[in-house]
């Protein structure tokens, strides 16, 4: 709780914003602008990671900024879960920036400055969500995140972008205003506080069905977690350029959603309270339903990015499932899955974007034999897919293992079945892609221009994230340590 770490929190929020101003000033000079982006993202990485040792040692640095409403300040408190989320987001931003440079230049996208600026603002908002010390702060940055990513989703500026943007903004804003906001106000009226408190704040204030209703408002109000039926914004957001889909709709935005859900369950309701009452049980069923149905839909998509999007919907519900099982070990699994899924899914999106940039292909049926032309890309894709399925040596295995252990421990047979079935479904929609990419011959008519690998920055980026996916399997100490701290404080 040193003043140093307070400053670090503030800097972590401000650095991306200052970087955004820098990018705006350098708008005519692409090289300078991209240097600023890389520099900013690197600096953010250092700042966020410098907080890790303190948090591991038990520090919970706090920072109170301005008092926005009487008794309700914009305040920040770094706790293990937020630390984990911030680490993941800040680690992937520089890599994604490298990728963006290759992608945006390779596809000659317009308005690149606006793109980088919105990206930086979105990252600042994601850090704000991660470090939020109360629900109000979380809500504020949650909305900033939605709005700052809207220009990114609609970047192409054509009719389909407008349609996609409409669904994106419509669902995210309306769920947050219609459900999340009243849930927050209700919590305030009932409990008198909005601070994230270990063990929850609602004990003795609300009970029975009311608690279930409040949980309902929170779970569907946090639309970013893409629980069915409020998931439709995620496939709609796939009209965005791939770096946006990669970092925002596989990492920052969706993880902000499930992160908020875990945070609400652990720090507002309290695991124990939810265990005692049965009014929250439905969450398990909804999460399980989402996992299975989204996987089935993914199976039927031919567009690669849409398949990945539905896979994300399904994977996000793993995190919710992990939290809803309410066993400490499954909550731990949920926390780790935030990181594991991030590394795997960003790799998959990077690969999809690499294919689009090099071969201008978007459909899965066009991918026969592409593994020979783009071996690195498809290798990375395979690693990402393994992580999604949950096979060693990829990070997804670890988190799935913990969630499964939790389900077995609490004898939630349904959860166990869901996890097994979804593993099979995951395999069913990823393995054929890998198989046809490496083992089938290219269609004669589609050989086209004889492309090779994507531009170098893209390949570097996707190799790095694939490496991270493997690395996390062999060295899961850091996320495990943070997640264990979460369990300890939650008790």
């Amino acid at each position: 709780m040193t003043p140093d770490s307070q400053e670090t929190i503030l800097l972590a929020l401000l650095v991306p914003l200052v970087g955004a101003c820098g990018m705006a000033l350098a708008w005519k000079r692409a090289n300078l602008r991209e240097t600023v982006t890389l520099f900013t993202s690197g600096l953010l990485l250092l700042l966020v990671w410098s907080l890790v040792p303190g948090v591991l040692a038990g520090d919970r640095p706090e920072l109170r900024l301005i008092e926005m409403l009487p008794g309700l300040a914009i305040s920040f408190k770094v706790e293990p879960l937020g630390m984990l989320f911030a680490c993941v987001a800040s680690l992937l931003w520089p890599i994604n920036s490298i990728y963006s440079i290759g992608y945006m230049r390779g596809n000659r996208e317009s308005r690149q400055t606006l793109f980088y600026i919105c990206f930086a603002i979105a990252l600042s908002a994601a850090i704000g969500v991660a470090f939020a010390g109360n629900l109000l702060t979380l809500f504020v940055f949650y909305e900033v995140l939605t709005l700052s990513t809207y220009p990114l989703v609609t970047h192409k500026g054509n009719d389909s972008a407008r349609q996609g943007g409409r669904v994106y903004l419509g669902i995210l804003i309306s769920t947050s205003i219609l459900l999340l906001l009243p849930a927050i106000v209700w919590t305030l009226v009932a409990a008198g506080t909005l601070d994230f408190t270990p063990g929850g704040v609602l004990r003795g204030h609300l009970e029975g069905p009311l608690l279930g209703l409040l949980l309902f408002l929170f779970m569907f109000g946090i639309g970013k977690a893409a629980l069915m039926p409020v998931h439709r914004w995620l496939p709609a957001a796939m009209v965005a350029p791939t770096p946006v889909s990669a970092l925002l709709h596989a990492v920052a935005v969706v993880k902000a959603g499930v992160f908020s859900i875990v945070k609400v369950i652990v720090y507002i309701f309290g695991i124990d309270l939810l265990q005692e009452v049965s009014s929250g049980d439905w969450l398990l069923y909804v999460a399980g339903f989402t996992i299975i149905v989204a996987s089935v839909i993914a199976l039927r998509q031919d567009n690669l990015k849409r398949r990945l999007a539905y896979s994300t919907v399904s994977q996000l519900s793993y995190v919710i499932l992990g939290a809803a099982i309410l066993a400490p070990i499954s909550v731990l699994g949920a926390a780790i899955h935030i990181a594991a899924h991030a590394f795997g899914k960003i790799t998959l999106f990077f690969a999809a974007g690499a294919i689009y940039t090099a071969a201008h292909k978007t459909e899965i049926s066009q991918l026969r034999g592409i593994g020979r032309r783009m071996p690195w890309t498809m290798l990375a894709f395979s690693i990402g897919a393994l992580s999604m399925i949950g096979v060693p040596p990829a990070a997804g295995f670890i988190s799935k293992w913990y969630i499964l252990s939790g389900a077995l421990q609490t004898e939630q047979l349904l959860a166990v079945l869901v996890i097994i079935a979804s593993t099979l479904l995951n395999a069913a929609y990823f393995v054929p892609i890998i198989y046809s990419a490496f083992f089938l011959r290219e269609d004669v008519g589609l050989t086209g221009d004889g492309h090779g690998e994507a531009p170098l920055p893209i390949v570097i980026a996707l190799t790095m994230t694939a490496g991270l996916t493997i690395l996390m399997f062999f060295m899961p100490e850091l996320p495990l340590a943070l997640a264990q701290q979460l369990i300890l404080t939650a008790k």
């Binding site: 926005m68 409403l69 504020v140 709005l147 903004l169 205003i177 009226v189």
Partner: protein, 497 residues
């Protein structure tokens, strides 16, 4: 010594300065000179209101008697906390609108009428400030008419001939409203023999059962509701806002209805007393349904408007409904929400109407179809529209969020969940109609053959953005506004005899 004397006369000067400057403007033929005098006057007014706020915060309610006649006999000016706050809003908007006016008026109004236009604007300012500051019920009527008559004139300056019919329609309804108000005041005078509002408040306490008092209450409320454009007495407002010159729309949309809300608050809470109004007259049963229907219908109608100024006019009706909803909740939180929204709505609507004025300045229209593709050609102007729209929707970090938060808090405190849902649903409708503007201006190509519109001149953009920044600032650092609204609300409800 002279400074002290000046300071003690500030309540009078607040009204007298624009009143004297107005004829001066009319005499000044060179139009830039008229503009300069008007602008200077508005800044002096702002300075006076700021000083008054400081004085009230330091020393409590100010009472100023005219001509040495002590209060129940002479006309008295009263500046309490809430009054100072509303004075500040009105003069702040005036001080921002007038610098903006020069270019916009040059574009929209014939040169030979400029001096008269500024005269009318200053008279309107004088009337609005007078309504707020006076402590005398009949004097309030006079100022109400000063502001109304000048508003009718201002609206009729619109380029479109429909401005004339809009102004006429407003004149008829406004005069009926003012006359109703006058009847109410007359009945109060018959009953008590006084016109001083503080004195009235004391003398009507034993008369709570009197039928004359009930009639007076009804007449005054209906009269003010006409000025306020409370549903279903709102018919004049959309036309008036839509066809008035841009400067006038910006000015009256963010001040006139706010002042009318202030009058309602003043009469309900400090004159009649809220126990009389709510327990005896069952005001909540009248006000609440009207507010709800008003919010809902106006929001829905706004979605289908093609003229963006008209759309914002309907949105204003909905916002007036929010303020009335807060009042009718009959709780400190509800009143706080209304008073907060009074200030916040002035900021957002001011910014939005000014931005639309800048659009009109460049393309000569505010039809949605004509605004297609403007986002790239006028980035600052449309940026202001987006920011103002976000505030209207109630997105965090804007003032709109703060108002909405308080309104929902007040409603949930009463346990009225359906009402909370309604407030939230209507803010989503605001999302729909604002997003129509955003999508049209950013995603559609310019209509074929349309002029290439450059960014509006700085003198239009700067005041607009000052208001936009105020929207953001008071949405983040809310200490000042919430404290003021909260303590004013507590004083109004707690200060019941």
């Amino acid at each position: 010594m002279t400074l002290n004397m000046l300071l003690s006369h500030l309540p009078a000067l607040q009204v007298v300065v624009p009143l004297l400057a107005a004829p001066l403007c009319a005499l000044l033929r060179p139009r830039h000179l008229a503009w300069a005098v008007a602008t200077l006057t508005s800044w002096v007014c702002l300075l006076i209101s700021l000083t008054l706020v400081a004085q009230v915060q330091a020393g409590g309610t100010l009472r100023y008697t005219f001509g040495g006649w002590p209060s129940p006999w002479g006309i008295e000016y009263v500046v309490d906390l809430l009054g100072a706050y509303v004075l500040l809003i009105v003069s702040l908007i005036a001080a921002l609108v007038l610098p903006y006016a020069r270019r916009s008026v040059e574009r929209e109004i014939d040169p030979e009428h400029h001096s008269l236009f500024y005269t009318a604007l200053l008279l309107c300012l004088c009337g609005l400030l007078g309504i707020v500051i006076t402590g005398d019920a009949f004097n309030l009527f006079v100022f109400l008419e000063i502001s109304s008559l000048s508003t009718y004139t201002l609206i009729s300056f619109g380029r479109d001939r429909r401005a004339l019919t809009a102004s006429y329609q407003y004149l008829i309804m406004g005069t009926i409203g003012a006359t109703f108000f006058l009847i109410g005041v007359g009945l109060l005078y018959v009953l008590t023999g006084t016109l001083n509002m503080a004195d009235l408040a004391e003398r009507i306490v034993p008369l709570a059962e009197s039928r004359t008092l009930h009639t007076a209450f009804a007449f005054i409320l209906v009269g003010v509701s006409l000025k306020l454009a409370l549903f279903p007495l709102h018919l004049w407002l959309p036309n008036a806002y839509a066809h008035a010159p841009s400067v006038v729309s910006a000015f009256i949309a963010s001040t006139a209805t706010k002042v009318a809300v202030y009058v309602v608050v003043r009469f309900i809470f400090s004159l009649f007393g809220y126990r009389f109004a709510f327990d005896q007259m069952q005001l909540d049963w009248v006000l609440l349904p009207l507010a709800i229907i008003g919010i809902f219908t106006a929001s829905v109608v706004a979605v289908f408007q093609e003229n963006v100024k008209r759309m914002l006019a309907y949105s204003s009706l909905a916002q007036i409904g929010y303020m009335m909803l807060g009042i009718s909740l009959d709780s400190v939180t509800g009143l706080t929400a209304s008073l907060l929204h009074l200030f916040n709505h002035a900021l957002m609507k001011g910014a939005l109407f000014m931005a639309l004025g800048a659009v009109f300045y460049r393309i000569g229209s505010v039809q949605l179809g004509q605004m297609a593709g403007l986002g790239r050609q006028m980035p600052w102007t449309l940026g202001a529209v987006v920011a103002g729209g976000l505030s209207l929707i109630g997105v965090p970090l804007t003032v709109g969020f703060i108002s909405k938060w308080y309104l929902i808090l007040a409603v949930i405190e009463q346990g009225w969940w359906i009402l909370a849902a309604l407030v939230l649903v209507t803010s989503l409708i605001a999302l729909v109609y604002m997003w129509r503007v955003v999508e049209t201006s950013y995603f559609q190509p310019r209509p074929a053959g349309a002029v290439i519109a450059g960014e509006a001149p700085l003198s239009l953009i700067a005041p607009t953005w000052l208001l936009v920044l105020a929207n953001l600032y008071f949405g983040i650092d809310t200490g000042f506004t919430i404290d003021l609204a909260g303590s004013a609300a507590a004083a109004l409800i707690g200060g019941e005899p």
